[in-house]
Structure formats: structure tokens, C-alpha cells
């Protein structure tokens, strides 16, 4: 049966299609190799994304290049009763793209064309594998960009952004991914292709687009996406404020918003992460400050200067020891590069990290942060805090060396306490990384049984057999069909 599945997939995805290529190909050459991979190396690598979670075993790994090919794969999977899991760049932090139950992995990295840009209507059609930053770079000469800018934007894909309803520093002013997805073509778990949303300003009917965004691959696979284009701002000011206490930075953030200013971004990093980041980018981050606040205001020249001055004043009133204005585009770019690569820099200190993503009311930031440090101390773990302060979106990084016996248990215990502390403060589980497998167990602490049952009913109306990314998001007790899909694995075949 397995061989039959592979044969069918190989027929659906003939080898050698590297689009637009002018070069000659030889048999057995690398570029001409099969787009259906079943070897142990490929399957082992796709057990992981950027999170600490190790998946099961990936089934065949497929590299489709068109929506029709995605459709063919889904239909073959259905005929064989197999689950599917879509994957972009594999930068997810909640285990959303890891394989559970030997699913067919649908890697969308080769569907990476920008299909159409319409600056008059401010919309672009792109394929899901387009890298977020590639799109904004492509749009730059036209004076536009794609506003959601997750820290991983240099590598993460638009399809992944859509699936996780990703945020990013500048989503404070512009809103998260959902705001910027106008329509999407979707291959449903049944294999049908539908268009959700539309280019009309007010599409008729139920907003299924809104339901689909943030579905983490459990509702189907986006194969073509209409994204909103955002005009590049005429003027930008970037401020770096230093503080002697993390709480002062957090309170400054609340005070800025309370003063009626909505900056484009407000990001806080504590001392440990600032040292690691500065060691990599050499942007002039102060390594002796307990915390730094990176604030950016955008708009018309006159307005941004006034806002920047006021943010500086508010910072000083809350204990800022230094306020610096980025003097050039280069300095500004370096400061942002530091902030956006922060997670990747931690191996300078420890080789593993576990990153949480809770959101708390802005006014409670300082209070919850103090608890986070206390929890980490109690579990004898190092914690570094880097977060989207303007949204109250915390990213505590518990850092450790996985080779140390028992450490992962302590990390999970501390993580659970951090999540509970955030929920107790009136917060939510995830700001932007999604639920995946990571926060599934906590869903019932945020939602009632009725809430979860209704979420599952929506999911089943898209995917009645629960074969699309099974075992994610909705906790097991509310999603019995997932258990069936996971049990239907031909055990031993892929081991």
C-alpha cells in the first residue's frame, strides 16, 4: 500500500520541474531529483521546526509547485486515509508544522512566485512559499511593503504568516496578518479548491476568510494569497531608551499609549539578551542597561518629530537613563537587525531555548515580568525577556543546555507557571506564534468546554475526517476524530 501511495504521488509530481530553468538536466542529477522524497534523511529533518518539539515520523515529503498539484496530493492522501501537514520555512515556535502520525508533508517552499502587484488597488497576489521579507523588498521600489514583520521575516513565508496569524513589531500600529489578507485560494481537506474572501471592499456572505486565517493548517492549505500593500511612511524616527530597571521600561510603554501616541513599534529587551544581540550586530546597544526600549514612530515629518520628543520625555519621567535617536538609516537598520535576530543569538549563552508567547494587559506588564523572573529563579533557569511591549506580548526565553539531565522537565514546569501567571493577569496564551502542539494543553484553561466544542465544530466543517494537520490546536478531548486520524497510521511502515 505504501509503495502504491508513493507511486501515485510521484505520478502527480513528475520530477525535474524547477520552474523557468534554462539549464540542461541529466539523469540522477540533483536538480532533477524526485519531488516526492521518502529517504530517511529528509524525513528525519522534517520532524522538527524551530521549536523544541520533536514530531513523529514524516511520511513522504512532497514539493508541489501548483495548486493543482497540492490538490492532487490531498486527494491521494484522502484515498489512502492518510493525514497531511503543510510546511513553509519551518520557523514555527509552537510545533505547528511537525508531523504527527506519519502524515504526508506538503512543503510549499517551491510555490514562491509573486504573481501580480496592483499598486492602484494596493493588493498583491502571491504564492504561499514567498518569503515575507522578499515580498517587502520586491515592493520597495514601488513605495510599498507588507506590514506584518515577524522577527523571522527574513526567512518565514507568507503562507506560514497566514496560518499563524503572525504578528511582528510593527503590528502595533498596522494590525496583525489577518488585517492584511484580503482573499485566499484554498485547497480544502476534501480536495476542493475554493476562494475565501474577495477583492471587493465588503465581500458578501459569511467571512470564511476570517475563519481560515490563523487556522494553523487544520482547515486546509492556502495556495494563492491576496495581501494588502501598505505605503512606506514618508518619515521615520527610531528611539533607543535605556533603563536601570525592567519595570521602568514596561511602565514607559503603558504611559506612551496612555498619552495617546500609537507608535509603529515598541520593543523591550532585557540586559542578558541585549548583550548577546550587541555581540552579534554591533549596533551600539547599551550593555550596561537593565533594559532597553526600541520605539519607532512613522508618519509625516512634522508629526514624527513631535511624537519622538514626547516619547523621550515620557521615558525620562519614568526613569530612562539615556534616550538616543537613530542618526541614520544604517543605524536604524542595525538596531532592528539586532532586535529581530535576538532568538537566534542565544546559543552564545546556552544551546537551547524554549520561548513562550503570552499576552498580558499592558498595565500589568511590569507585574507579570517580575513573576517571570521569580519563576525562572525558583526553577534554577536562566530567563531572557524580549517582547513586543506595545501589544503586551511577552516572549520569555527560558534558555538551557538540553544535555543537562532533567533540565527539560524544569523548563516545562517553569513554562507552565509563566502561562498560568499570564492568564491570571487577564492575558491570553499566544500573541502570534500559534497554538500548535505547544499550547494545546493550556487551551482548556483559557476556553470553556463549550468554547472548544464550537471551535472543533468549525474545524470539522472544513475537515470532517480531521486529516489536515491532526493533533494540533484543539485539545484531544474535544477532537476525537483527530485521535482516529492519528491511530490510522500504518505503524512500522515509516519507522
Amino acid at each position: 500500500m505504501t509503495d502504491e501511495l508513493e507511486d501515485e504521488l510521484r505520478r502527480a509530481l513528475p520530477a525535474t520541474q524547477v520552474r523557468g530553468s534554462r539549464i540542461r538536466r541529466r539523469r540522477g542529477s540533483d536538480a532533477g531529483r524526485s519531488r516526492v522524497r521518502t529517504d530517511s534523511a529528509e524525513r528525519a529533518l522534517l520532524r522538527r521546526d524551530a521549536s523544541v518539539f520533536d514530531g513523529g515520523v514524516a511520511g513522504p515529503v512532497c514539493f508541489p509547485e501548483t495548486a493543482a498539484e497540492v490538490q492532487a496530493i490531498v486527494r491521494i492522501a484522502n484515498a489512502h486515509g492518510r493525514a497531511i501537514v503543510p510546511r513553509g520555512a519551518g520557523t514555527g515556535l509552537a510545533g505547528g508544522a511537525i508531523p504527527l502520525g506519519a502524515p504526508i508533508v506538503i512543503a510549499l517552499t517551491r510555490m514562491n512566485r509573486i504573481l501580480e502587484v496592483d499598486t492602484i488597488n494596493r493588493v498583491a497576489w502571491v504564492e504561499p512559499g514567498v518569503i515575507n521579507l522578499d515580498l517587502s523588498k520586491y515592493l520597495r521600489p514601488m513605495g510599498y511593503h507588507f506590514a506584518p514583520d515577524p522577527s523571522s521575516q527574513q526567512v518565514c513565508t507568507i503562507g506560514g504568516n497566514l496560518a499563524n496569524n503572525s504578528g511582528g513589531p510593527h503590528c502595533l500600529a498596522y494590525g496583525v496578518t489577518d488585517t492584511h489578507i484580503i482573499a485566499t485560494e484554498v485547497v480544502l481537506p476534501s480536495g476542493d479548491i475554493v476562494m475565501l474572501g474577495g477583492l471587493d471592499p465588503e465581500p458578501d456572505g459569511l467571512d470564511l476568510r476570517g475563519a481560515f486565517v490563523g487556522g494553523e493548517g487544520t482547515l486546509g492549505i492556502a495556495t494563492k494569497i491576496a495581501v494588502r500593500l501598505t505605503k512606506n511612511p514618508p518619515a521615520v524616527r527610531t528611539l533607543l531608551l535605556s533603563f536601570g530597571h525592567v519595570a521602568d521600561a514596561a511602565n514607559t510603554v503603558s504611559a506612551v499609549i496612555a498619552a495617546g501616541i500609537v507608535p509603529a513599534a515598541m520593543e523591550v529587551m532585557d540586559q542578558r539578551i541585549t548583550i548577546a544581540v550587541e555581540n552579534y550586530v554591533h549596533a551600539g546597544y547599551p550593555i550596561d542597561a537593565a533594559a532597553v526600549l526600541l520605539a519607532e514612530v512613522e508618519g509625516l515629518e512634522g508629526g514624527v518629530q513631535i511624537d519622538a520628543d514626547r516619547i523621550g520625555e515620557i521615558g525620562r519621567a519614568h526613569g530612562a537613563t539615556d534616550v538616543r535617536l537613530a542618526a541614520s538609516d544604517r543605524e536604524r537598520a542595525l538596531l532592528w537587525k539586532g532586535r529581530k535576530t535576538a532568538f537566534g543569538a542565544i546559543a552564545q549563552i546556552k544551546p537551547d531555548y524554549y520561548l513562550h508567547d503570552t499576552v498580558v494587559p499592558r498595565a500589568k506588564l511590569a507585574e507579570v515580568l517580575a513573576q517571570v523572573y521569580e519563576i525562572a529563579d525558583r526553577h534554577e533557569l536562566l530567563v531572557m525577556n524580549v517582547f513586543h511591549a506595545g501589544d503586551g506580548n511577552l516572549h520569555p526565553l527560558l534558555i538551557f543546555d538540553g544535555r543537562e539531565p532533567g533540565v527539560l522537565d524544569r523548563v516545562h514546569e517553569a513554562g507552565a507557571e509563566i502561562v498560568r501567571a499570564s492568564l491570571a493577569a487577564g492575558g491570553v496564551l499566544s500573541g502570534e506564534h500559534g497554538i500548535g502542539v505547544e499550547k494545546q494543553a493550556y487551551m482548556s484553561e483559557q476556553f470553556s468546554d463549550d468554547d472548544l466544542d464550537h471551535q472543533n465544530r468549525l474545524r470539522q466543517s472544513f475537515d470532517p475526517h480531521c486529516r489536515s494537520n491532526p493533533g494540533k490546536v484543539i485539545p484531544m478531548g474535544h477532537s476525537c476524530a483527530d485521535i482516529q486520524a492519528l491511530r490510522r497510521v500504518p505503524t512500522g511502515v515509516w519507522g
Partner: protein, 391 residues
């Protein structure tokens, strides 16, 4: 299998994936096994968990260009190049990588006479139009080799005297670049000793292929042959290899030697005022940064500093220094992937609309020329400007 990689270095990768878009093979395949993160995970699987060396695992290692574009992208500073070099050496020692024919093919690099005979034979074949394109040789292979002579001013009072490293294949295939480099240096009142047969090969290609013993022997030979003076290199790949001798041999002499190695643009940049002031050449030139200049030596800005006074318009490519696919012998060993990678580079070049592309590495120049791009070494451009020779 023990790949003999330092466990702490191997453990440095946090698998964040920020390197993926800087990897040329991931860019053209979208495949995790063709990415730095994937290759490091496979090294771990082999070394820590004794995963079997399947053909696919070997392919994953073999398809790495070793451009090291992932290193500047890594916030944790994973020394990817060294990890890959250790892996290749362990697998070559084991007989799993680098087949015997490749080992033999690299032997003559240290034998200038053999190289010259081979080049003449290839030049004849080229003129008879029977030379396979796949070899990637330049279109005008010389029939005869003319060795450069030392400057008349060597050790004259008040003159700086430097070695100009001439190398192996570049010396027989592109000696006109060396000749231009020597004229430019002399125009800056610098006396030049071309290394010729004193120092026939730097061993970079051996290191790439995992032939560590050969590479170390080449390094020892150069260190013995080139004492005291600065050593200028007009091939980015060779310069990067020679700057790494301190790490390769781990001796005081090797570190002292590596500290004297400079890319020629790097060395000239602070001395650019010593060059004569002439009219700028009326061309639009795109600077193509060789990976081993930009990602390994990290001195690529110097190319702009030295070119700026001599050409009318300098333009940048918009691909963030992504590799062109040349990679030493890579374009010969992995022609399909190298071709796909080159297509991306050619598209970036087309967007910049240059008359000429300046590249400070012979491998990149030849590989790009193979796709019809008009390439030139920065030293040839400056030489043409000073001597007022039409391009």
C-alpha cells in the same frame, strides 16, 4: 560515525532557521536537506546518534557550495565552514566522499609544469572547439604561459615590497589578472615579488574536498616559502584559505603567516591615494562580491573604495551577496545546482543593468562568464583606467 567535530561547536546551532535564505542551495530547492540548518542536524544525527551514512545524507553534504553565506546570517555565530570542513575530511578519510578521480584531479595543482602542459593541451582543444563547456574554462585559454618578473624596485629604499600570490589554476588560465595587479601596485610605488613557483598552490580546493593532509602540506609549503613581507592575494578564495592557516595548522608560524595575508583590494584601500589620479572610465560597473571575500574575509567594502576613483558609476546587486554557484570546483562537480544558483545571480545582475561586472575571484568570473556575463577583475579595471587602455 565520529565526524571529529568539536561537540560544543556542533551544539551551537539553535535550529532557528535564520540562515535558510542566505543558503544558495536552499534558495533554489526549498529543501531542508539542502540548507545549513538541515546539514547541521544531519551532522548531529551522524556524530551523536550514529545515523547511517545513506546516499541522501552524503548528497546533503556534497551539495553544499561552502560559500559560508550562512555564517554572517547566524546570530549565534555557528562556525559552519569549519563544521563542514571537518565533516568532509572525516568522510573523505572514510572513503565516503571525494572519489579517487577527484583526488587525482587535484594533484597537479601543486605541479606548475603539469598545469602548464595541461593548459596548453586545453587551449589547443579549445581552438579546435572540442573542449567540453562543463570544465568552465575561460574562453581565451593561453597557449603559452608567461611568468611575471619581480619589480625592478624590490627592496629599494623607501619602497614597500610585497608578495603577489599567483596560485595554481589562476596563474595558468588568467595570468593577465596578475599582470594587471602587478602594474597597479607598481603605479602605487609598491615593489612586487610574484610568487610563481615559490608557492604553487594554497590548498583551498583540497580543503573543500576534505583532503586535509594535502591542504596542510600546501599550507606548510607556503609558510616556509613566503617569509616576512605582506602577501597580497587577488583571488578571494585563495586569500580566505590562507587567512585560515592559523586555524588549519594551529601553530604560531601559521598564525603569523595568516596575519600577513591581505586581499589585494583590502590592502590597497587605505593606500588608494598613492595611485595616480586619472579620468574615470565611462562605464557602469556592478560589484559582485565573491562569497569568500564578503562572508569569510568580510573585507568586500574595500573593492568599492578602490574602484570608486576609477569608474564612473558603481552599482550594487540587490541579492544581499547570495552566492553565484562557482564554489571552487563546485560548478564542475554539481553543474545543475550551480547553474540554478547562477540563474538567480544573473537575474540580479540584469536588474542592476551594468556594462561590466567586477569580481575579485577567478572562479566567480569564469562561472558568470559561462552565462554570458561580461566580467572583469577590479585590478584589470583600475589598470585599464591608469593606462588609458580601452576595455
Amino acid at each position: 560515525m565520529d565526524l571529529t567535530i568539536d561537540p560544543d561547536e556542533l551544539n551551537m546551532c539553535v535550529q532557528c532557521g535564520l540562515c535558510l535564505p542566505s543558503c544558495p542551495t536552499f534558495r533554489v530547492t526549498g529543501d531542508e536537506t539542502r540548507s545549513p540548518r538541515g546539514r547541521i542536524a544531519l551532522m548531529r544525527a551522524v556524530q551523536n546518534d550514529d545515523a547511517p551514512l545513506t546516499p541522501e545524507v552524503l548528497e546533503a553534504f556534497d551539495t553544499c557550495v561552502q560559500c559560508r553565506g550562512c555564517e554572517p546570517a547566524c546570530p549565534s555565530g555557528v562556525p559552519y565552514g569549519h563544521l563542514m570542513e571537518r565533516t568532509r575530511e572525516a568522510l573523505a578519510d572514510d572513503g565516503s566522499l571525494t572519489p579517487v578521480w577527484q583526488r587525482w584531479a587535484l594533484k597537479p595543482l601543486n605541479q606548475p609544469r603539469l598545469l602548464q602542459i595541461g593548459t596548453t593541451a586545453m587551449a589547443v582543444a579549445q581552438r579546435l572547439k572540442v573542449l567540453p563547456d562543463r570544465l568552465g574554462a575561460p574562453a581565451d585559454l593561453p597557449l603559452r604561459h608567461h611568468a611575471l618578473a619581480p619589480s625592478a624596485t624590490v627592496d629599494a629604499p623607501g619602497r614597500e615590497t610585497v608578495f603577489l600570490f599567483t596560485g595554481c589554476v589562476m596563474d595558468v588560465w588568467q595570468s593577465k589578472v596578475h599582470a594587471a595587479a602587478q602594474r597597479v601596485l607598481e603605479a602605487a610605488d609598491v615593489a612586487v615579488i610574484p610568487t610563481n613557483r615559490l608557492a604553487p598552490c594554497c590548498g583551498a580546493l583540497h580543503t573543500h574536498a576534505g583532503l586535509g593532509d594535502d591542504a596542510r602540506a600546501r599550507a606548510e609549503q607556503l609558510i616556509g616559502a613566503l617569509p616576512e613581507r605582506p602577501i597580497l592575494v587577488d583571488s578571494a578564495g585563495c586569500g580566505a584559505a590562507m587567512k585560515d592557516y592559523g586555524h588549519l595548522l594551529d601553530t604560531e608560524a601559521a598564525r603569523e603567516f595568516s596575519a600577513r595575508v591581505f586581499d589585494i583590494q583590502e590592502w590597497l584601500a587605505p593606500r588608494v591615494d598613492q595611485l595616480p589620479q586619472v579620468d574615470k572610465v565611462p562605464v557602469r560597473v556592478a560589484v559582485q562580491d565573491p562569497c569568500h571575500l564578503r562572508h569569510v574575509q568580510r573585507v568586500h567594502e574595500a573593492t568599492r573604495t578602490v574602484l570608486a576613483p576609477f569608474v564612473q558609476t558603481l552599482v550594487e546587486l540587490d541579492d544581499d551577496g547570495l552566492c553565484c554557484g562557482a564554489g571552487g570546483a563546485y560548478s564542475v562537480l554539481q553543474p545543475e545546482l550551480a547553474g540554478l544558483i547562477r540563474e538567480r545571480k544573473v537575474e540580479a545582475i540584469d536588474r542592476a543593468r551594468p556594462d561590466l561586472v567586477a569580481s575579485a575571484n577567478p572562479g566567480c568570473s569564469m562561472h558568470l562568464a559561462g552565462a554570458g556575463v561580461r566580467t572583469i577583475h577590479p585590478m584589470q579595471l583600475i589598470d585599464a583606467a591608469i593606462s588609458k587602455t580601452p576595455l
